[in-house]
């Protein structure tokens, strides 16, 4: 097996081959007309939008008109309070031509906006069966993550901190467990306020990060988009270069335990079971 380098590091998700591991959002911009420049500067290839905000009757003011054609559209079910509403919003999104990807958000807590894991798993099951590429937003809970995997999710999207708080990777330890245990990509969503935090998530082995608030509400959203693109790439490169990559490198040149079994390796010299010279 050859080492994985940045150049052939591709995230395969829902039939797409993604070079960028930064996902961005469309909410909260002071002006949607900034979106194309943010897409370009950040290098992101996936963009999420709330179906509730899409108004096909609005002509050029329609949010969708600002999304460059090359972007993978990831409609989300923001506003859904239960599994049934999430399923209906997903079907509407597909019927409106937004594609097969869906980010499930089921939130029934207007104070903290925390996702409902059980309802999310139910919606995931239904939608995966209908052929959607399902990316559920979740609390980083291993049991919920396993149910989501069983239900057919394409990835899981654990929160780093409650939505809109920009408090960074508060759930770091729990996300690390998901990265360790799941075969699915773990995409950190919500809470990332600074590029350094996105970088940290990537260093930990997250497959990607979704960043909306921190970019959309920055003084200069385009420059901040670029900074996040670079931070995510740097974090990923560090992950590939660092301890996390060891497992992938069967040809590592000098194993630390290589001395074991070598003749005359230490003061004691003798390796059990071998003949003395």
């Amino acid at each position: 097996m050859t080492p994985v380098t940045e150049h052939d590091d591709i995230l395969e998700l829902g039939g797409a081959r993604l070079h960028s591991r930064l996902f961005i959002g469309t909410g909260k911009f002071g002006d949607d007309a900034l979106i194309p420049a943010v897409c370009a500067a950040s290098g992101a290839q996936v963009i999420t939008m709330a179906l509730r905000r899409v108004d096909l009757d609005a002509g050029p003011a329609n949010l969708m008109a600002h999304i460059p054609a090359h972007m993978v559209r990831l409609p989300n079910t923001s506003g859904a309070r239960n599994a049934d509403e999430a399923v209906r919003i997903a079907r509407l999104a597909r019927a409106m031509g937004c594609g097969d990807w869906i980010k499930i958000e089921v939130v029934s807590d207007s104070r903290h906006l925390l996702p409902d894991g059980y309802a999310t798993a139910r919606a995931t099951e239904t939608l995966a069966r209908e052929g959607f590429v399902v990316l559920p937003y979740m609390n980083p809970d291993l049991y919920v993550a396993r149910s989501l995997a069983d239900a057919g999710a394409a990835a899981v999207m654990p929160l780093g901190a409650p939505i809109g708080t920009n408090r960074g990777l508060r759930t770091r330890e729990m996300i690390a467990i998901l990265v360790e245990e799941l075969d699915l990509p773990v995409i950190v969503d919500a809470g990332i306020g600074k590029p350094s935090q996105a970088c940290e998530a990537m260093e930990m082995g997250a497959a990607a990060c979704l960043v909306n608030t921190a970019i959309a509400t920055a003084g200069d959203p385009v420059a901040m988009g670029r900074a996040f693109g670079q931070a995510v790439a740097a974090g990923r490169a560090a992950f590939l270069a660092g301890p996390g990559a060891e497992r992938r490198r069967a040809s590592a040149s000098s194993p630390l335990t290589g001395f074991l079994g070598e003749a005359g390796a230490g003061a004691g010299g003798a390796v059990p079971g071998e003949a003395q010279p």
Binding site: G27, K28, F29, G30, D31, D32, L51, R52, R53, V54, D55, L56, A58, A61, M64, G79, R81, E85, R88, I89, R91, L92, A95, M96, G97, C98, S108, D109, S110, R111, H112, L113, G164, T165, N166, T213, A216, T217
Partner: protein, 377 residues
């Protein structure tokens, strides 16, 4: 505990004194809190907080932008009927005021709706006076059913209804409910509402909770500022909102800060607020309830409205006429109150954009119309 019980315990002279007495140290502490509690709220509403208005405004601004972005939702009210059996002493529609009365037929309401929709607006608030024999639940529901295809979000601001009525309205496509308690002071309430069904303070107080139970997505509460000393009113409003948030976590609870305006009739507010006091009220609410929507009406003048936008507002009315039939050339003379911001939708949008805010017209997709969805391309 019902909110009525909670209110009896909190709307007291002791609370008013505690708010008055909060000192600067309490204000500074409140400003540092991640999740301000009741005592912090009292401090933020205190006279001692006045010198710290800029710091409150900064925090309110940051909090609002983090949670809602640089966006403002726009809506407009549609006055369906100004018949009213109540005697609210502060209102131009009050049964004792000799003004022309009118009620739109559902078809006329649709015509008004078309005129409004042509301006780009997608959120509509239906209003009536309290005349259930003429403008009852069936009538409001009939209007809602006709208007729903034009407006993905339909709210009602009508008299206090029973849970079953709110349920009937949600079935007709209404997803939001606004109910101002006017004042949380039970005794003052009695003197301001000398006749009509609205006299029943407790029935009105329980209406937002009934709307939550009936499945409304958004429930908006508020007090008519100027009727009573504002600090305690805002304190009670905030705790009402938090009570609803806790009991009905799936409902978006929002708050309005309507300030009394001059109106047809001689009555004038006894406790008017200055602009600084309005700002203090709004920013204190934002810090106490970071996730609550805050609605600003056209009662305020354009320059002030524009300046209030960054301080916590999430929703504004635009292109407003408070007269029945006012969008299709009816006599705009006898509105409920005089608006101070007569700007059309385009002018409001331009002012928002100039401040780096994006007007949002649509924020909900009605799920009952899932089958009518069309393709984007």
């Amino acid at each position: 505990m019902s909110f009525a019980d909670a209110l009896a315990a909190l709307y007291t002279p002791e609370t008013a004194r505690a708010i008055e007495a909060a000192d600067e140290a309490a204000v500074l502490r409140a400003l540092e809190r991640r999740a301000p509690d009741e005592a912090d709220l009292a401090a933020l509403l205190a006279p001692a907080a006045a010198p710290h208005l800029e710091a409150m405004a900064r925090r309110a601004h940051e909090t609002t932008v983090r949670h809602f972005g640089r966006t403002i939702q726009l809506f407009t009210p549609l006055y369906l009927s100004n018949y009213c059996t109540n005697g609210c002493v502060y209102c131009g529609f009050n049964t004792g005021n000799r003004i022309p009365r009118a009620q739109l037929t559902p078809e006329q309401a649709l015509a008004e709706g078309r005129a409004i929709a042509a301006t780009g607006l997608r959120q509509l608030l239906l209003l009536t006076g309290e005349a259930p024999a003429r403008a009852g639940t069936d009538y409001i529901a009939a209007c809602a059913r006709l208007l729903r295809p034009l407006f993905p979000s339909l709210g009602v601001e009508v008299h206090a209804l029973a849970e079953a009525d709110y349920r009937a309205l949600t079935r007709a496509g209404v997803d939001a409910m606004t109910m101002f308690q006017e004042t949380y002071d039970r005794e003052l309430y009695a003197t301001l509402h000398p006749r009509g069904p609205k006299r029943d303070f407790a029935w009105r107080l329980g209406a937002p909770e009934r709307a939550c139970r009936a499945g409304m997505r958004v429930v908006n509460v508020g007090a008519l500022l100027g009727l009573a000393p504002w600090r305690l009113e805002v304190f009670a409003t905030a705790l009402h909102a938090r009570h609803l948030q806790r009991r009905h976590p799936g409902v978006d609870i929002a708050i309005s800060l309507p300030r009394m305006r001059p109106h047809a009739g001689a009555w004038q507010p006894a406790h008017p607020l200055t602009d600084s006091e309005l700002v203090q009220a709004m920013t204190a609410l934002r810090l106490f309830l970071p996730q609550a929507g805050i609605t600003l009406s056209t009662r305020e003048a354009p320059a002030l409205r524009d300046n209030l936008v960054p301080l916590g507002v999430t929703r504004m009315s635009a292109g407003v006429s408070t007269a029945v039939g006012g969008h299709t050339g009816g006599d705009p003379g006898s509105g409920q109150f005089e608006i101070s911001d007569p700007r059309g939708v385009d002018a409001v949008c331009a002012a928002l954009r100039q401040r780096g805010y994006q007007p949002v017209f649509k924020d909900w997709e009605p799920l009952e119309h899932a089958h009518t969805a069309r393709r984007a391309s």
